[in-house]
Amino acid sequence: MTITCEDRERIFQDGTAEEWAALETHAAKCAACEEEIRAWKALSAAAVELREYREDRALWAKIETSLQQQEAQRSKPGFWGELSLWGAVSLGWRTALASALVLALTVSGIYVIRHGNTNKAGAGPERLLKNSALAEVERTERDYMKAIDQLAAEAQPELNSPATPLMASYKEKLVVLDSAIDELRMETGRNPSNAHLRYQLLAMYQEKQETLQEVLETKR
């Protein structure tokens, strides 16, 4: 195999074993290539200086504790899990508890019907949005979404074919955010006056906006 100085960079980049051997043979008679090969190898040797492997048992102790905590948290029964305990209660007690629950619901229903009109304006004002305020919120939300859609359109080419891992990671994050936004939108659709849900949705939109801005800044 005949190798010249012009082949050197290509071989550095992606040369086969035979090409490397041929380059080294060539370098024995070419000072420039010999120096380049030497410098190229020196970089690999220098990189080893950044390798500092030391066992750290203290870190493992921390990790172990957090893994155990996470596992305990995950294995805790949630609401539906708690309901499974219901099966352990005897039939008599179950009937009694269910009747008590029905009674409590009836009494509260009657109370709400009787006092509902007088208390309407003050019923959880911080949680429930009035109709006019709701319309205003929805209008602003639509404008905000439109602006974010424009940002998304600008960032789309970069996100469609991410050129760097950072861009790929932005893409993944945006997918997660979009799915969270969809879920929250469904929730707010079911319960449009819930201000708490609206705040959560707004926070998601803000996060999406910031992420898209970061994408566009990275692009620049």
């Binding site: 090969i37 190898k41 970089l43 220098a46 950044l50 390798r51 030391r54 990790i63 990671s169």
Partner: protein, 225 residues
């Protein structure tokens, strides 16, 4: 590209290079297994199965086999041993949460490093956000390489660390994964979600830039380096 005052003492470097790392310049097919920490462990599948079954001792084994390498990579990516520890700890928690989604498309260890790299990216992003909110200057937010245990060539290491800071983030990451941590291009491709060719090209550009920055000054060159 200028040398920005980072010139290596090539004479010292070369002697070390030929002794240890020289072979790694060759394509991975030749140098395979000589200087690289083994990532495709024979027990990879057993380790994955153990973690999937929730066996804490499997996590401990993973830590014993890869913990030091994980921490080293995180430290080089983030520049701080404290952040590196947080990243490794977060990674283990994410592995535990996401182990059910591991389908074996790559080696288990490669998958865990992919999580680590993404965790480091998240930490970096948070740092940038902090910068925006706290109005710190660009310089204040640069990852600072905190002191390490003295190595065989401290000046060489410092020069390389400073030179690495001037590379693009992508070039630095590929260089660290390939040259420092010893991963193969196929593994890096899986971790960074790029092609193997892109990994090779990026490494080449990184080394070319480093070569430019760490080249000896002309006067030294004339002196026979």
């Amino acid at each position: 590209m200028g040398t920005v005052g980072l010139a290596l003492q090539w004479e010292d470097t070369i002697s070390a290079a030929e002794g240890e790392g020289g072979r790694r310049v060759e394509p991975s097919g030749i140098a395979a297994g000589e200087n690289r920490p083994k990532s495709a462990l024979p027990e990879d599948a057993a380790l994955a199965a153990g973690c999937m079954a929730g066996d804490l001792s499997a996590y401990e084994r993973l830590y014993r086999l890869q913990g030091a390498r994980m921490k080293n990579l995180a430290r080089n990516l983030l520049g701080s041993p404290t952040d590196a520890e947080d990243a490794v700890q977060d990674t283990f928690l994410k592995i535990q949460r996401g182990i059910k989604s591991f389908r074996g498309q790559s080696a288990f260890v490669t998958w865990t490093f992919r999580i680590l790299v993404n965790t480091c990216y998240d930490l970096r992003r948070r740092r940038v956000r902090r910068k925006e909110h706290s109005h710190e200057t660009e310089d204040e937010m640069l990852p600072r390489q905190e002191p390490r245990a003295p190595g065989a060539h401290p000046s060489l290491r410092m020069a390389l660390e400073r030179a690495l800071e001037t590379l693009t983030q992508h070039q630095r990451d590929v260089f660290l994964l390939y040259e420092v941590e010893g991963f193969r291009h196929g593994e890096i491709a899986a971790m960074l979600e790029i092609s193997e060719t892109a990994s090779k090209n990026t490494l080449f550009q990184a080394k070319k830039n480093l070569r430019g920055m760490l080249a000896p000054p002309r006067s030294a060159e004339a002196g026979g380096l």
